[in-house]
């Protein structure tokens, strides 16, 4: 492959950014990682993602690609030969995209944040829905090693970054995800045995500290 220039504008606790890090690592693509200060966004970020002004932004040979699910598919299509993430069959691809969309709406969505950002009844309702959604994912995983089958696939890459946030959720919500969803935790640990995943996810204690910091900043108990 000709000299590729790949830059990732990212923010270390972002699970969306982690997806892109994992995808690039799976494809063994060298890239420049640039940490953004979200309270003081760089000119480059604002220029490359003028519409959303958000990370992650993937810049490939000077051209920006935004939105993590779009980025993961782009990475898979540009470098198709190593570690293909989406299957070739159109129906299997549709199932993978469906679950990727589900993860975004239900696990990464605004409602799930209430597990750490609220208390009392609101928090209990959020916890219940969160666990229900994780159980649906467990059902989809079934007895497979990964959502992608024998290897990491699209849904694995889309979901596993959230594992780094589980400890923070458990501490704030006072519950155990492993008790509720043991198969999913086993899957996450299996993913973490891969360098592409373990080197892309920050330490869960650091994420917990970050969540505590966010709670302080937003005046949440």
């Amino acid at each position: 492959m000709a000299d590729e220039d790949v830059v990732l504008l990212d923010f270390w606790p972002s699970p969306f950014g982690m997806r892109v890090r994992i995808a690039l690592a799976e494809k063994e693509i060298k890239y420049e990682y640039k940490e953004e200060d979200l309270r003081n966004k760089s000119d480059l970020l604002l220029k490359m993602n003028p519409i959303h002004k958000k990370i992650p932004v993937l810049i490939h040979n000077g051209k920006p690609v935004c939105e993590s699910l779009v980025q993961v598919q782009y990475i898979d299509e540009i470098w198709p030969h190593k570690s293909p993430l989406l299957p070739t069959d159109p129906y299997q691809r549709a199932i993978a995209r469906f679950w990727g969309d589900f993860v975004d709406k239900k696990i990464y969505g605004l409602e799930s944040r209430k597990v750490w950002s609220t208390k009392g009844e609101e928090q209990e309702a959020a916890k219940k829905e969160f666990i229900e959604c994780l159980k649906l994912l467990e059902g989809e995983l079934g007895n497979k090693a990964y959502f992608g089958g024998e290897n990491l696939g699209y849904v694995d890459v889309v979901l596993v970054p959230f594992y780094s946030w589980f400890y923070a959720y458990e501490k704030c919500g006072n519950f155990s995800i492993e008790t509720e969803c043991p198969k999913l935790i086993a899957w996450a640990k299996r993913c973490m045995e891969k360098d592409s995943v373990s080197k892309s996810l920050p330490d869960q204690d650091k994420i917990y500290d970050y969540v505590l910091h966010l709670k302080k900043v937003f005046g949440i108990e």
Binding site: V65, E67, V70, E77, I78, P80, P90, Y91, D101, L136
Partner: protein, 236 residues
Amino acid sequence: MKWRTIFSSKTMGDDEEVKVFGMWASPYSRRVELALKLKGIPYEYIEEDLSNKSALLIKHNPVHQKIPVLVHNGKSIPESLVILEYIDETWRNNPILLSQDPYDRAMARFWAKFIDEKILSTTRKVSFTTGKEQEHAIEEVTEQLKLLENEVKGKAYFGGEGIGYVDIVANFLVFWFGNLQEALGINIFSQHKFPFIFEWIQKQLKIDMVDECRIPKDKHLTYIQTRLAAFKSASK
């Protein structure tokens, strides 16, 4: 850089059973019908009563229990954007909805997400709020539409040379959005404010299949007004 086409190539005439569970006033549902019509794929349409969802719909979309759902030879595919890509990958005849080029594909997916997660989401706020909250939502959706206007400026279609994925996703602008704003008695969207989108709409209307997916105006206005009245009385 071209991304290899590695899917099965099906054309009309194969032994196919294609069903669409939809709802006549849903822009998400209409997208799927439009894509199938453009590709010349015959399908059976099943109209769902959203206040009384059928057991079949729930069977084919147990997770979200929503329309549209495409059922192809017994395999269920929910979520309109997922369905559109499935249609394009399964039936490889013209029009090809998504480019072969990975960067163009990424741009198309970006705009489809923008339409769904920003424009249509904010439009829901416009419909279901009042006063200052509605004013703010109107401002927000106007800004979002301006970004879309910019994207189609100087182009015959969002995708370039022919109708494609983003044009289909943006189909809500051709009938649905205009009807909605009339029912709400607001004026966000006009030829004066959005000349390029309006020009694009005129081109879309020249396509027979787009016209076949027309949401009948009077029926739609009545439907929206009924829904709004029900919502208002429920929130009292």
